[in-house]
């Protein structure tokens, strides 16, 4: 939309500056065209305020039927591309219909905005926040400008965070007991654990710990599940014998993880799993998958 108008005749230049833009941390955001841009980062309950400047091109006057700014929280399903579902929509009228002769600055503010969901770019679903400025015009068509921003919500460390401990095995073949120190990890956390080999009758070649992301979209019969392996971390090389214990220490920071999202607006969920995989010499795989909860811890800097 933007371009077409721009190509025709960019009647006005619209630019947005956030009030605390200088102190706000810019974060990368991957746009749908594949480009990564740096955008400001917000969290829920924050004030989103700033100024919008509208400047007619080369001193011409621009007529309009009103100018407004909207704050939109949208979910886009890829099987239904282009069709946004707005779960949040706030509007501020900036100007009554009239004419603009020169650059005009409009301050705006959305105070304590409820933004319960985080920005998310998944395989089949996208959740984005955007500021949409619309200069309404009659027949000439409205001028619309978008400004993306990212929302991340921080969670305090959970009060209860049990370890995951489990004994699994195949009878008379392999018995192991594994332990991950927590069930809930923050995004820069480290998974510490141990695997005890209680019985080994197969020749194991190696053992990996995988981090898998399971994104499910839609609901009911239309549920679509996509699983990605984000990390494949080798824990052990060679065949252990009974009684061995193998340490686990996996730093999560190198991986692009998000918090666990449960049933976001009834549209989608993102869950994380630790998958322990043992591969034997005939390349048979033995695995056990455990869900872990990811959360975002406020960064202390």
């Amino acid at each position: 939309q933007n371009y077409i108008i721009g190509a025709f005749k960019p009647a006005c230049n619209i630019s947005i500056t956030f009030g605390d833009g200088k102190s706000r941390k810019p974060v990368p955001l991957k746009k749908e065209n594949g480009q990564t841009v740096m955008v400001p980062l917000f969290q829920s309950q924050e004030n989103i305020a700033g100024k919008i400047s509208v400047e007619p091109v080369s001193g011409k006057k621009a007529e309009h039927n009103g100018i407004k700014v909207e704050l939109l929280g949208q979910i886009e399903m890829y099987f239904d591309r282009g069709n946004f579902y707005d779960f949040t929509s706030l509007v501020r009228e900036l100007d009554v219909p009239g004419e603009i002769y020169e650059r005009k600055i409009y301050p705006f503010e959305f105070s304590t905005v409820e933004m319960p969901y985080e920005t998310y770019n998944g395989v089949n679903v996208r959740l984005r926040y955007v500021l949409k400025i619309t200069i309404s015009r009659g027949y000439a068509g409205s001028i619309v400008e978008y400004q993306d921003f990212v929302v991340r919500n921080y969670t305090p460390p959970p009060s209860i965070n049990n370890s995951i401990k489990m004994e699994v095995g195949i009878e008379d073949c392999l018995h192991i007991e594994f332990e991950y120190n927590k069930s809930k990890y923050h995004l820069k956390d480290v998974i510490i654990g141990k695997i005890y080999f209680l019985l080994v009758r197969i020749k194991i070649k190696n053992m990996d710990l995988e981090i898998r992301r399971r994104e499910s979209t839609g609901s009911g019969a239309n549920t679509h599940v996509e699983t990605e392996t984000l990390a494949k971390f080798e824990l052990m090389d060679g065949a252990p014998v009974r009684g061995e214990s193998i340490p686990i220490r996996l730093f999560l920071s190198p991986y692009e993880l998000t918090p666990t999202y449960r049933n976001i607006n009834n549209k989608f969920s993102v869950k994380y799993y630790l998958n322990l995989v043992l591969v034997d010499e005939e390349d048979r795989r033995y695995f056990k998958q455990q869900e872990i909860t990811m959360f975002r811890l406020a960064e202390t800097s």
Partner: protein, 791 residues
Amino acid sequence: MVTTEGMEEEEKWLAEGIAAIQHNAFYMSRALDSDNLREALKYSALLLSELRTSKLSPHKYYDLYMRAFDELRKLEMFFREEDRHGCSVIDLYELVQHAGNILPRLYLLCTVGSVYIKSKEAPAKDILKDLVEMCRGIQHPTRGLFLRSYLAQISRDKLPDLGSEYEGEGDTVMDAVDFVLQNFTEMNKLWVRMQHNGPVRLKEKLEKERSELRDLVGKNLHVLSQIEGVDLEMYKDVVLPRVLEQVVNCKDEIAQYYLMDCIIQVFPDEYHLQTLETLLGACPQLQPAVDVKTVLSRLMERLSNYADSSPEVLPDFLQVEAFAKLSSAIGKVIEAQVDMPVVGAISLFVSLLTFTLRVHPDRLDYVDQVLGACVKKLSSKAKLEDSKATKQVVTLLSAPLEKYTDIVTVLTLSNYPRVMDHLDAGTNKIMATIIIESIMKNDTCVSTADKVEVLFELIKGLIKDLDETATDELDEEDFKEEQNSVARLLHMLYNDEPEEMLKIICTVRKHIMAGGPNRLTFTVPPLAFSALKLIRRLQVQDGDMAGEEVPATPKKIFQLLNEIIEALSSVPASELALRLYLQCAEAANDCELEPIAYEFFTQAFVLYEEEVADSKAQVTAIHLIIGTLQKMTVFGVENRDTLTHKATGYSAKLLKKPDQCRAVYACSHLFWVDDQDGIKDGERVLLCLKRSLRIANAAQQQANVTRGSSGPVTLFVEILNKYLYFFEKGNPQVTPAAIQSLIELIKTEMQSDATTPDTASDAFFSSTLRYIQFQKQKGGLMGEKYSPIKV
């Protein structure tokens, strides 16, 4: 075919691995040069990925490892310089752990860990503990061993040892020891596991590969021994028990053998001495196939060397009762390893004995104890059949002989003969020979009857037939040699005290009499001479006053001698007996014991009459008799007459005329003893000479008849010489006229056609004549005497 192909394949893989390492090393170096941490990590991880291969044998893998190792040194240098990469060592420690593959990850972690410890930003012990723990992720034996050996290598100079810069503030030697011990334990487990990784048919190959890697494991023990802070106390309480625990628990024979040996070699002797009990306690718990005997032998050898090195440590040996502990440990090992062949047990005893001899040479009871234990072990079977074991027993028994050059010491060992009892007859003999040789070599004098008794018990293999069947196969040469050595031995049995000496002789007699006829000819003469020697000594000592109370009287000994020589009749060895009788007679003569001397002569004559049948032997015997008899001074007229009469009689009855002739003229000396009180019966001398002339004549004629020519004139010349002798000695019956006529006779004989010319007798005659000429010309009394004789 398959193997060479396999080897070529392996070479190829190695070459590929090296190429890949070089390739990545190049990019890594470039990254290092441009201070690019991320790139450096990337390429170092790629480089290290080459070590993930399973295709190489340990030997080749080592090659690859060393190349990677060199590259890691450069990386470590880079890590150390924070201003170059701008990353704190703590962050770096995390950063390298992001690598997805475990092997490169852990190599990098160790490398950074080394820098981390050096930075002292965290306690060394924590880092070490973390590293050694994380390395558990590599369960593949070869890769694990090399990784852990890398860890050992980089941490070696960073252990919180006593006096090291990393010690203090909670980092103690104990942490260093813990770390090394843990790494050691894990490495050993991996090493042991190699054995079970792979098909049984490749067992041999696996064992070979394993042994190539053993030093990686042993290195840890070496490191432990180098830690300053490991003092005796810590070694005793921590290091040794934990190392041994691992050794015992791994239940692997190769590892157990190697590690036990390692322990013995790397730690100081002093520690071994103080922890003997613990160390030895582990031995019976080892696998049955472990060569414990070599392990123990090495230990004992080390301890012996230690004892040799400085005499002041000896009290320590006594204090810790080293011998008792070693001894009981050996006992336990033998007990525990039921399948151990006898040879193994014996060689353990040999080692223990060597140890005792070197460390406690003064403790004969220890030596005896070892021998006793050996007897106990051997007692399950009557005779030892295993040739190797037999050899070991010989070594065992020879050891004290070599140590105590004085055989007498050995004789006090009560178990010594009991060990010998278990040897087969052949070896027993060998052993006996060794004992005798030892005595001869060291010129040892065995000086009491009791000891002689023991000695004979030891060498009984040579003294009598132990095993009847074996005698047939005996090589005569060998037998002679053996018996000669026994004969030589008899001369070494000596005591200055006549009484004791007599006892010795009696003892020897008792034993050799049991030896059977074949041996007597060898053993009787030395014994007889030994007895004669004693008689002579008594004679010098006591002179006439030989009291009745003294048990060692010549009389008594003569009786003994008589019996001894009599035994020879059973052989029979009459000529030998005859000689011995004559020797005895001579001795009796010197002791002025006429009846005894007479008795011996009688015996000699009886033998001559009854036993000496061979004419040649008769000649020899008669000359011996004559010679001896001539010397006898003890006889009264009557006895002497009887004996001389007999002797002359026998002489004339010899078979061959020349022999007769010679014996008869020899008899002439019986009537003319050329000393002051000697008998000088000129008439009978002449009688003898005349008789011999007659016989010579007869011999000549006989020859003439039978062969057509008379023999040479040698006999006449010989008789002439006798004439001259007595003439010079002043026998009035021998006149110049008689000599003159004899000379003429010889000349005639020589000119006669019938006489066979003989240069030897001619020469003899002419030199005799020359002698006469000389005497004549010499003048003086003798010249005058000779003057009537014309030549």
